[in-house]
């Protein structure tokens, strides 16, 4: 399953990425394989979403979240 499928408040562990270019940016921001991610909120119009990762809040678009595969 991917990060996009998580609901608000749900937690997952990052396993791998489907998009190399996106993965480079995500990993720099601390979103690495093995890290726990929790969806903290969804924007009023349903996209983008905000996640809690490595001690801070990160926002990303649904499409970007769909490139993150969870364990």
């Amino acid at each position: 399953m991917t990060l996009e499928e998580l609901g608000v408040g749900e937690t997952g562990i990052v396993k791998e990425f489907t998009d190399l270019e996106m993965s480079v940016k995500l990993m720099e921001m601390g979103c690495l394989p093995g890290e726990a991610v929790r969806v903290s909120r969804i924007a009023p119009l349903g996209d983008p979403i905000a996640i809690h990762v490595s001690g801070y809040q990160l926002s990303l678009r649904r499409f970007e979240a769909s490139t993150i595969i969870l364990q």
Binding site: V24, M29, A43, D47, P48, R61
Partner: protein, 704 residues
């Protein structure tokens, strides 16, 4: 100013870097550009305890040495280029103690460049509050660098940091972080050998970034490209494995030096605020409320200082007129240069207020929430969540708004935002609209509450937003993206704004505007002055001679004589001649040569329209007396038809022209400054003029 040691300040965004910079340097700073790019370069000076002077360079905030925006790309090139007047002797990496892990990524990259480093550990108080325990000495020992705890906001630890700067080593003593060579062994060795790179990480960065580095010659860059092919170097794969290796190192590092509480601080204050501010309903209501307040304030608060500035310049002009001997030189200085200068200075209050708001919104963290909420809508029309602020700011003035597009990382989104922002109805269009609407729209209510004039004005404002959105949508398909758009963005914790930063930001932006855009505006004003004060051949002389004849001097008062002369001179000036020349072109949209003159003169600034109309229809006093201009315009008769010149069709055609045409030298100047390529302002000028003509033509023929 000479300095004994040069220090670069590096850190993630939202770590308090600029606050630390201000604390270290005080008011002792100057702002410029990095060579060849429009990235603000802030340099300040700091007196060290040992009596030496440190020059401090504030580099743009970044999460890593791999740049995501133009601003960020400057960081590596400043750190890496040897023997320039920017090459630092020492780097201070500022780290947010509440988010050590992500902040240390940048530190390990900088450390591996083998430049002497000091860590300034900011926000220790917040970390303590969050229950994060950091063993600073142990961490410093493991890294091999001094770590100085500071609180940039409370100005604590600044003296200790200065002492650390003065004791800093000339040589980099930090521990190696990761085994850089193992990431891409072949190419690192080749580049090190051929380019004399003194450390493997520098060589690796050259492989990654050679295409954008200004200090490499094209031949060098091509050679690196060849080496990459030879060694099968894949930049993203290498970057991915480097990042993973660095985070592994950081995890090991923090394992026995930092204790983080197990309980997630879920119900933090920030989270509670977010629940309201990004709420499905309240979120938008609050956002619209903030915008209305901002918009109102820009108008309301700037009105008084703007009229003060105008009065000041009127006073200066009067004084100069009194002191200087009359002649063309005095006229040039007073009506050309000083008038142009006043046209620049008058924007300062609006720019300062807009940037005060932007700086507060950014500082508190609200701006990223606006971006978060608006991204989906804006993306549909080819813009980006971050385009909201420039577009709204455009209601006040396009100039500071275009300056504020720098926060948009994506090149294509930023360009589209710059291209459409001038369409938004700025405050300079307001005098034109009010004059023309009052002229042709009856002051009547429809359906009891809606005033027709007010409706017309609202219509012009709505039209401006709609046209900006449509043009953005079209440009989305025309412009080719240089990079993939993405929206991976930190939502920082809410904080109180730092008022000193707000003041600095107001001051900086106003100064940049005066220095950069000011040059162009003054030049254009001088040209316009020449065009309207001189005529071809001896036409001017003939006019003066004509009115010296007794049939005029006897029958007219000297005041009305003066007015008649100046009107006739304007008609025969180069501007007047130009007006006649362009008449065939503007006739189809309902304009005569007099309006043509106003169109030409208002290419410097739209509000010049009222002043020019006042001169053409020879009104006593100045442009402030809109009533009298209005009366004269109302009475102006069309010599061909005998009816009034300003019919409903002509007035609305004119408003359409002013709504779409790029009649603002300051905006052209600032677009050039921000894009560093004259093709952008040229394209913008062209498409807006075409739109203006088309819209005016359509409206004129529909209403005629």
């Amino acid at each position: 100013m000479k300095a004994d040691i040069r220090v670069a300040l590096v850190g993630n965004p939202n770590t308090g870097k600029s606050t630390l910079f201000n604390a270290l340097t005080g008011l002792n700073q100057k702002i410029g550009n990095f060579p060849g790019v429009t990235v603000d370069k802030k340099i300040g000076y700091s007196q060290l305890p040992d009596g030496r002077r440190a020059e401090i360079i504030d580099l743009p905030g970044t999460y890593s040495l791999y740049p995501k925006s133009r601003d960020e790309s400057i960081v590596f090139s400043v750190l890496a280029e040897k023997n320039t007047d920017l090459t630092p002797d020492l780097v201070i990496v500022i780290i947010d103690a509440t988010n050590l892990k992500r902040n240390l990524l940048l530190y390990t990259q900088v450390a591996d460049l083998k430049i002497p480093v000091i860590i300034a550990l900011n926000m220790m108080d917040m970390a303590k509050k969050a229950g994060i325990g950091i063993e600073i000495n142990k961490l410093a020992e493991k890294l091999g660098v001094p770590i100085i705890p500071v609180s940039a906001r409370k100005i604590e630890g600044i003296d200790e940091l200065k002492t650390a700067i003065s004791y800093a080593n000339k040589f980099a003593l930090q521990q190696d972080s990761i085994d850089v060579n193992s990431i891409a062994p072949g190419i690192i060795e080749s580049i090190s050998k051929e380019f004399g790179a003194d450390n493997p990480y520098f060589a690796l960065q050259l492989a990654h970034q050679h295409e954008t580095l200004k200090f490499l010659t094209p031949a060098q860059s091509e050679r690196i490209e060849e080496l990459e092919k030879e060694h099968g170097f894949h930049t993203q794969k290498a970057q991915a494995s480097e990042t993973i290796a660095r985070y592994n190192y950081i995890n090991d590092l923090l394992y026995d030096t930092v204790k983080t509480p197990v309980t997630a601080h879920d119900e933090s204050i920030s989270n509670k605020i977010d629940k309201v501010l990004t709420h499905r309903v309240f979120g938008f209501v609050i956002f619209i409320g903030v915008l209305l307040f901002m918009f109102q304030s820009i108008f309301a608060w700037s009105a008084y200082p703007m009229s003060l500035i105008e009065d000041l310049f009127v006073w200066i002009q009067g004084g100069l007129r009194h002191v200087l001997p009359t002649g063309p030189l005095a006229d040039l200085l007073i009506d050309g240069v000083v008038a142009g200068l006043s046209g620049v200075m008058v924007f300062i209050p609006q720019i300062a207020i807009l940037f005060a708001f932007i700086s507060i919104l950014e500082d508190t963290g609200y701006m990223s929430r606006v971006t978060f909420m608006m991204d989906k809508i804006m993306r549909k029309v080819g813009l980006n969540g971050k385009s909201v602020v420039p577009l709204i700011g455009g209601f006040a003035c396009a100039v500071p708004s275009i300056m504020s597009t720098r926060t948009i990382e994506n090149w294509k989104d930023r360009m589209i935002t710059i291209m459409v922002t001038p369409l938004v109805a700025c405050s300079a269009r307001l005098p034109v609209y009010t004059l023309l609407i009052a002229l042709v729209v009856p002051n009547k209510n429809v359906w009891w509450i809606f005033n027709l004039q007010g409706l017309a004005l609202t219509g012009m404002y709505v039209l401006s937003l709609v046209s900006a959105v449509i043009v953005a949508y079209v440009m989305k398909f025309v412009l080719k993206a240089r990079e993939r758009g993405y929206f991976i963005m930190e939502l920082p914790v809410y904080r109180m704004p730092r008022w000193s930063n707000v003041l600095f930001s107001m001051y900086e932006r106003a100064k940049t505007f005066v220095l950069e855009a000011g040059k162009v505006i003054i030049a254009v004003s001088v040209i316009l002055w020449v065009l309207s004060s001189y005529g071809p051949g001896d036409r001017f002389k003939n006019i003066e001679q004509k009115y010296q004849q007794p049939q005029y001097t006897k029958t007219m008062t000297s005041d009305s004589l003066k007015r008649v002369i100046s009107t006739e001179k304007l008609e025969n000036s180069y501007a007047g001649v130009l007006g006649h020349v362009i008449e065939p072109v503007i006739k189809p949209i309902g304009f005569d040569w007099k309006i043509g003159i106003a169109l030409i003169t208002s290419f410097a600034a739209r509000e010049v329209f009222v002043g020019t109309m006042a001169t053409i229809y020879s009104v006593d006093g100045d442009a402030d007396r809109i009533d009298s201009v209005q009366d004269k315009m109302r009475n102006a008769k069309n010599p061909n038809t005998g009816g009034p010149v300003f019919t409903l069709a002509v007035a609305f055609s004119l408003m359409m022209f002013y709504a779409f045409a790029m009649q603002c030298a300051s905006t052209v100047a600032v677009v050039y400054r921000e894009t560093k390529d004259w093709r952008w302002p040229a394209t913008q000028f062209l498409y807006m003029t075409v739109l203006a003509y088309g819209a005016a033509f359509l409206v004129y023929h529909l209403l005629k």
